[in-house]
């Protein structure tokens, strides 16, 4: 389960050692924008050793490597793959070829490192071209597990202001959700960047969930709780999911085909949604409320 992803600059030892305690489902160790050119090696070494030695419990590990138009990305791939993070995040993924280039580099690095499991990829869509190519990027490699929208760079590319309300990224958001769902992968929303605006953060997280995102990234631990809460099923949703599963079990027992619950037909999508809800509820330890 990956609702929240927290960015941690790869060159901040104090935050890095505390990453198990910040409440995020996944940690994104950043080697890219948060790290100045003079610090790239230091960050790479710190993140490498963190992946090797730090017990991150059940947290998923993601490393944001540098973009393929830089001199750093190949070394990033080489060193990170050897430590086996769960995913690599590829910034400025604009074309399917970008993803395939990195995919091939990962494959070579995995062979050299004798890796036992396949590292997955999360393309970061943050250019106008990337938005238009979203489905092609999502299906460029079987490694691609999710798309991630980066609104800061995108709005620069679109030559518009980035606002808290986010009307300027409405198209990109819905386009990415559609592309990712068409490719049957997850999709993550851009961080809300005003760390002091808790109310704004909640609103932005709720918008992301309403649009169909799987979860959201954050640059501040302060917003993690909002993300985890909003992207968790509510008690009503869990209770309803139990009722759906019970109704179809009873219908099966009685040999009935069509099932109604609360006056509505239960069809395949409703059952699929109920299954997903219950799976998530189990992972976060939610139970059915007592009737």
């Amino acid at each position: 389960m990956r609702r929240s992803m927290l960015f941690i600059p790869g060159n901040t030892p104090n935050l890095v050692v505390n990453s198990p305690y910040l409440g995020a489902d996944a940690i994104i160790f950043d080697l890219e924008d948060a790290v100045s050119p003079g610090e790239k090696d230091a960050a790479r070494i710190l993140v490498r050793n963190t992946l090797r030695y730090l017990d991150l419990g059940g947290q998923e590990t993601i490393v944001r490597i540098n973009a393929i138009d830089t001199d750093y990305w190949q070394k990033d791939v080489e060193e990170m793959v050897a430590q086996g993070p769960d995913l690599l995040m590829l910034p400025k993924s604009s074309r399917p070829e970008d993803v395939r280039t990195v995919d091939e580099a990962i494959t070579r690095a995995e062979e050299r490192a004798g890796a036992r499991r396949r590292i997955r990829l999360m393309p970061l869509i943050e250019t106008a071209l990337g938005v238009e190519n979203a489905y092609a990027v999502a299906t460029a490699s079987p490694r691609v597990a999710a798309l991630f929208l980066g609104a800061e760079d995108l709005t620069a590319d679109l030559r518009c202001q980035r606002t808290k309300e986010g009307r300027e990224i409405e198209y990109a958001r819905t386009r990415l959700v559609t592309a990712a769902r068409a490719a049957d992968i997850d999709v993550y929303d851009t961080p809300f960047t005003d760390v002091n605006d808790d109310e704004g953060a909640w609103r932005d997280v709720e918008t992301a969930r309403a649009l169909g995102f799987t979860g959201k990234a954050s640059i501040s631990p302060r917003h993690i709780q909002a993300i985890n809460t909003v992207f968790s099923p509510s008690q009503e949703e869990v209770d309803y999911a139990y009722e759906v599963m019970e109704a179809i079990r009873m219908a099966k027992e009685q040999g009935r085909g069509a099932i109604a619950l609360r006056g509505k037909m239960i069809d395949a999508p409703i059952v699929a949604r109920a299954r997903r809800t219950l799976e998530m509820a189990r992972e976060i330890g939610m139970e059915r409320s007592e009737a």
Partner: protein
Amino acid sequence: MQGKVVGSIREAIVLSGLRSGMTVSFHHHLRNGDYVLNLVMEQIAALGIDHLTVHASSLFDIHAPLLDHIKSHVVTKIQTDYMSARLGRAISEGAMEEPVEFRTHGGRPSAIETGAAPIDVAFIAAPASDSMGNCSGKYGKSACGSLGYAFPDAMHAKKVVVITDNLVPYPLVGWSIPETYVDYVVAVDAIGDPAGIVSGTTQITRDPIGLMMASYAVRVIQHSGLLKDGFSFQTGAGGASLAAAKFLKDVMVREQIRGSFGLGGITGYLVDMLREGCFETLLDVQCFDLKAVESIRTDPRHMEISASHYASPTVRSSAVDHLDVVILGATEVDTDFNVNVHTDSGGSIMGGSGGHSDTAAGAKLAMIIAPLFRARLPIVTDRVTCISTPGRDIDVLVTQAGIAVNPRQPELQDRLKQAGLPVVPIEELKTAAEKVTGVPTRPAHGNRAVAKVISRTGELLDTIYNIPRR
């Protein structure tokens, strides 16, 4: 209108009858901006008086000239409740022959009142005084707010000298310490540097780990059963403690809980709580920022109290005994919940109890907020380098990795667990810290005692030994 005013500090010293071997006292309300201790000691040294005991409620780095007076045997003994790192390092390296005596902010007035630590001459820095010595910390360019720590000195020293940079016509309206205790008054150009006395604003931490611990701390208070009408509270001026005060205010305002009093060193955050109706009153032994100074000057609900009233264990009653919750810091905590606030992990003095063990002993819930590690050092450890506050007085330790409850408090432990808080055994926190930092080798210390830590009730709690010179 001459009154008790004398021409100079030197003249006051001579008139006080100070002789070699006596004890002089100072309060620390001017904190790291204090000029008075240095001005007085310079004159004492010039007069050829030596082998003195300096009895100061706290000592800061601005008092580094003391080290010269120690070298020349003008000062041969120090009694204090707190000593900042630069002085502390020199003492730890063996600058003095006789060990420093550390007391607490409640133990000091107790020792003064009971005669265990008598004072010959008290020098009281006063931001405002009239010619007869009615004085206050609330007015003037060097205003520091409360003069709480100076009360026992004024009331029990054999001679009392008030030193002010703001001599006002008699009588000063709204005095703190009355003329009845004062022998001499000296006017000087400046008693301190306002920038070092109080900070303009004390800021809550922006460190995500500190904020996280603060929010855990507030949830502990919420589920402790103590947060209800009549609630009383004290917190330190550290970043995470201030964040906890702010979060607690939000909860109290939202749930319309009307507390009784906020206590201790007072910051703007507690003033905000008073103004928003979280407390009926503030009991202020010391102001930490300009907002607190302004509030104690203008708001009658914001009361000045003496160190004795604050925390003495030997008066008929004191405020710490009515305290519900106190949030405290630590440089180290061990698996028996003992807390060190005197030394760093290398054994060098860098602090002191202040009101730490007084409030821990008095409060119904004494909570420590401390990170698992600082830089490469584990903070939760097997055995603290120095016992400042005994573990029996500590109820809860809040870290970023979870909350440990003292096994002496099984009921509290159950409450917090039921509330879904991450309650873990303290040993687990130690293991988690050491997993990251490793187990550091304890630096060797010498066998010469450089300081004695005396409990609030007068027993020897621990001894601090010399460390190698840097």
